[in-house]
């Protein structure tokens, strides 16, 4: 047990040095296109990858809140939000009507057996990554009302 604790401590202390990139994984979009997340993330514009599921209420709240200000965000910073649904085959069917019913304009990618979620070692939803030039510059989990403003501050900071 002690060794485990030492192991965790070492890993944590080295964690701040990381500047990771996204794994080379291809996911299907809602309209059936294959999209490689590594390629998409390799952009001068800031990209936000938001991991969500149709059954996750805070995720929906977060994406609803961002969708209300998304047009302004895009006009000012050219940011793109890619919403990665981790719904499995039980709830996957609900994605398309939900996204349209809510009038979201995000690109939606399907991670239905959680390959990308697992590769990025994401354990709790919602989980959000801010990426620029292929590198993850910020990671955040959970949502509280208003925390989208903090996200936007980071996006602005990294926008040239």
């Amino acid at each position: 047990m002690k060794k485990l604790i030492i192991l965790f401590a070492l890993i944590l202390s080295s964690g701040s040095l990381f500047s990771q990139s996204l794994p080379n994984i291809t996911l299907k979009s809602l309209d059936g296109k294959s999209i490689n997340v590594k390629k998409v993330s390799n952009s001068k514009d800031v990209k936000v990858f938001a991991f969500w599921a149709t059954w996750c209420v805070p995720c929906i709240n977060e994406l609803d809140a961002i969708s209300e200000v998304y047009e302004d965000w895009q006009d000012e910073t050219n940011v793109e939000l890619i919403a990665i649904s981790t719904d499995d085959s039980r709830t996957k069917k609900r994605i398309r009507p939900l996204v349209n019913g809510k009038d979201w304009t995000y690109e939606i990618l399907l991670d239905d057996n959680q390959d990308l979620k697992r590769a990025l070692n994401i354990t709790v939803l919602p989980h959000l990554l801010i990426v620029k030039n292929g590198e993850i510059i910020y990671r955040k989990t959970s949502y509280t009302p208003g925390s989208e403003d903090e996200i936007y501050e980071i996006i602005q900071k990294y926008t040239n």
Binding site: F18, R139, T141, G146
Partner: protein, 560 residues
Amino acid sequence: MNKILLFLTCIPLGLSLSAQVLDNITIGLESNTVWYNDDSETGDFFDNANNDGDKHIRSNNYLKIDYNFLESFTASVQIESYEPFALLNYSKSYEGTNLGTYSLNYRDSKLNITAGHFYSQFGSGLILRNWEDRQLGINNSLQGGKVVYEPADFVSLTALYGKQRVGFKTSDGEVFGFNSELDAGALLDFRETSLGIGLSYVGRKEDTPFVDPTFDELTNLFSGRVDFYQNKFYSNIEYVLKSEDAIKQGGQLSNRFVTGGSAILFNTGYSKSGFGIDATFRRLENMNFFSERNAAGNAFNESSINYIPGLTKQHDYLLTNIFVYQAQSIVNLETSQSGEMGGQLDLFYKIKKETLLGGKYGTKIALNASYWAGLSGDYIQDNPDAGTLPSYEVELFGFGGKYFSDFSLEIRKKWTPKWRSIFYFVNQSYNKKIVEGSGAMITSNIGVIESTHKLGNGKSIRFEAQKLNSDSAKHDWTGGTIEYNLSSKFSVYVNDIFNNGSDSDTEKTHFFNVGGSYTKGATRLGLNYGRQRAGLLCVGGVCRFVAEATGLTANLTMSL
């Protein structure tokens, strides 16, 4: 074991010499620790699985490390620790500290090869799905090898072989699988249409315990799928056939009862901006499929090869989750069960801004309805004296007894930039005898009102009020939640549900929880003290029974 730990401790040390290497590592850590208390209301702490009443502090820990190297390779390990025993209601097969999964993966534009543990899914998972859910205690990954080959954009072929993970061991049975996916839309250069075709095979080979078996040691499952999407309309259909296999009856595998199975899944929908509708139909007949025949019906969902979720709405509130449906795919002649049939309908609609009902910000409506029943037919009991073999004969589209129905309406309304509310109504009928093994049909009406108020500077407060009325004198529940977010990092909450009915397990007991959490970036620490209600714990449509318990829980999750 100690050597492994020491070895792993050295890895980060060595790695810290090179930031280049660190850039290529991702780490996930999850730790769940509970201090169980004796409780005057719910009784003293006791762990039936391990026959232990002394070790009150339990901890489940998961550390996963992925290392990417030479552009195309990924090495991955997951260490798991259940000390001194696993948390309550976990399978006894999760014991001690050990290497849970490991793998080496090579990936380029055409090939994706994995040796070691892997997770795979064919189509919707009706014949194969390997997945992990730590809350449910499920990790049914396969240990073996997998090759995915994509010779062109429009075709993907998979071959796999493995033994299934069961706790820290592997199953006796072996699993073989082949999958092919063809994107006919891309092949035929359709511009506006997507047309996908999938064909899969899964075989499970396990020695039979009988000298003179009436069934094959290899059981075969085939699946065919068509997936169509055009503009705003989509539709898909899947048909599954399972070859003959011995059925477990009364806890025993029977050489006298051998039969096949099948599944039909149909889904269609239409959606455009501000509107979406989706309908699903599914029929299952004898679709249980395990890497070991004797695992059929095990309480922990261990050794399951395929994925058969309950196709009902996953509700989000405490009282809407008291009566949760679990898909019925077992064969039980005594209760005339051989599967289930039913469907689900979803409707989403956004009432536009600046209209009478839409108000200043618009109103979002979601409606869901589902109905599930048994398969109607003749069920013939085993009678060796009369020379009758056990069997059943069911109609293709005949509804048998009702198992479950659910209707829910959700209205989300933003009143001002700071105030928003959710109104939620659910009507449910739940066949307790079928889902839990005893009891009667219970019909309940549940109402929930939730409001969130933003207070500025990242502060917000959220209230929930919940009420459940039923046609049974046993269930009359009231519940509530208050959550206060002090900032985007700190939040505290308290919730309670209380049954005023006469149900002997839950009456006059407050199932309360108080807790808080601290989040910084991708690290979250949660603390909770409270009482867990006995019942089905369901995640992603798969359920597990959990016993009543009271205790202090600490959760730590981080992703690096």
